[in-house]
């Protein structure tokens, strides 16, 4: 039962990933990416990582994808018909990767029909303990990096006297 659900989710991820390559409208691409991320989040949940699953939706779907949407909306006018080649040059390498991933998936599950999913649930508390215990310095380093990024954004966005 569990394995069927996981397979279904993997299929959704692969299909939406493949759909990203063929849809014409960038907005449809973004929606496909969103569905793929949601399926990934449910996969995390099933595999015993509820905290990561929630963060996946909050950060990736709720924040990063939103930035993509912003870019798409600000760059293109809404819903106009665009004639574009369906098979663009950027299509091939990702397509090969999708096919490879599908093959690996099929091989993996056909080689080991007895594949047991060992699930140990990692709650938010243990994630927190790990982040602020053994990985404290790494966390602080990431924080410093983000701080530098904020400073850089502010510097780029600073209005000079002649701008105003």
């Amino acid at each position: 039962m569990m394995i069927l659900l996981i397979l279904l989710l993997l299929l959704i991820i692969l299909m939406t990933g493949a759909a990203l390559l063929v849809v014409r409208d960038p907005m449809h691409g973004a929606v496909n990416l969103g569905i793929s991320l949601l399926a990934l989040s449910i996969l995390f949940l099933l595999l015993g990582a509820p905290f990561i699953a929630a963060l996946e939706v909050m950060l990736y779907v709720g924040a990063i994808l939103v930035l993509f949407l912003f870019a798409i909306m600000l760059l293109r006018s809404p819903l106009q018909v665009r004639e574009e080649a369906r098979w663009r040059r950027g299509f091939w390498w990702p397509a090969v990767l999708v096919v490879l991933l599908t093959v690996v998936l099929i091989l993996l599950f056909s080689q080991r029909p007895d594949l047991q999913v060992m699930i140990q649930e990692i709650g938010p508390a243990s994630v927190g303990r790990a982040l602020f215990g053994p990985y404290l310095w790494l966390t602080e380093a990431v924080a410093l990096l983000l701080f530098a990024v904020i400073a850089a954004v502010l510097a780029i966005h600073r209005r000079d006297a002649h701008d105003t």
């Binding site: 909050m58 909306m73 819903l79």
Partner: protein, 318 residues
């Protein structure tokens, strides 16, 4: 059998929630009328309660159409997404310590935040898929508002999580011997303001803004699809109200009456504040809304969480 009972229970919960949302539409009209010295809808049934049913019937009997210039799939999916994400969030809301679907889930609060970002997607996709420039402007505003207010809201909630040491709503309520509004007054104010903005309620209903954007993201919607958006908005308001009651007002704690009645009373009081805000405050300009989010609420929320952490650390030392 167990599965069947569960499905039945879910159906019942959904029906009750939809009923509450429908009733709130009517209640809002009556309360607004009362605050503005009018009568409001008072003809159908006792005190006009039947008006909610009549509105629902009207919306259901209308034609359900897709405009020619809209993106058909996303146009259909968006309203469902709005209502769905608001409904699902209620799964982690406990009515009492032992009465909830998933009140003990250890990521309950995060789940609600995640669903609220999905909710904004519904509004956004609906506005975009309508293929109308007013709708698109509404959608852009919805997304910008989401990004600006989700952050202070999350940070304000972190204060509560710090104090209670739990992410499950049950755990948070159990930890409140003293309602957290006393310990987190700043966090409470930030959460309320961000909550109003998250649900696109007046005075922060800029994605909708009838007077400037002719209803914004739902300009092209009619019939029950419009009804879904409406239900989603009122369910979202109920959710924020019940969260406020659970996180800051002590949840089901209270003397004499049984717990769930206390929770409902507190929720009702917060919902009344929502109505009151709508009747009192004018809509701010868009840049003012953004400025409030980024320049006032975010620093205040950061200050709040630092102060809370310091106080908690000192408390532990003492």
């Amino acid at each position: 059998m167990r599965l069947f009972l569960m499905a039945l229970g879910m159906l019942l919960t959904t029906m009750i929630l939809l009923g509450v949302a429908g009733f709130l539409v009517f209640a809002e009209r009556r309360v607004l009328a009362f605050l503005q010295n009018r009568l409001g809808p008072n003809r159908l049934g006792p005190l006009g309660v039947g008006q909610a049913l009549a509105d629902a019937l009207k919306l259901m009997s209308k034609e359900s159409f897709v405009p020619d210039f809209a993106d058909p799939v996303l146009y259909r999916a968006a309203p469902v997404l709005v209502a769905f994400s608001a409904l699902v969030s209620f799964a982690v809301v406990p009515l009492d310590q032992h009465f909830s679907w998933a009140g003990n889930w250890n990521i309950g609060l995060l789940f609600i935040l995640a669903m609220s970002s999905l909710n904004a997607y519904g509004v956004f996709l609906g506005g975009w898929a309508s293929g109308n420039k007013f709708s698109l402007l509404g959608a852009v505003r919805a997304v910008a508002q989401l990004v600006s207010y989700e952050l202070p809201m999350g940070l304000a909630l972190l204060g509560v999580v710090l104090l209670s040491g739990s992410l499950s709503l049950n755990g948070i309520v159990v930890a409140q011997n003293l309602p957290f509004i006393v310990l987190q007054p700043l966090g409470f104010v930030i959460f309320m303001i961000a909550g109003v903005a998250e649900t696109h309620r007046l005075p922060f209903d800029l994605p909708e803004a009838e007077s400037e954007l002719v209803a914004g993201f739902n300009t092209e919607y009619g019939g029950m699809r419009f009804g879904y958006f409406f239900l989603g908005e009122y369910l979202g308001m109920t959710l924020i109200a019940v969260l406020t009651a659970l996180l800051y007002l002590g949840g089901w704690h209270g003397p004499w009456l049984p717990g769930w009645i206390w929770l409902l009373l507190k929720t009702g009081a917060v919902i009344f504040v929502f109505f009151w805000l709508r009747a009192t405050l004018p809509r701010p300009r868009y840049d003012q809304l953004m400025g409030l989010g980024w320049k006032v609420l975010l620093p205040l929320a950061l200050f709040n969480i630092m102060a809370t952490a310091l106080a908690a650390a000192l408390w532990r030392l003492a």
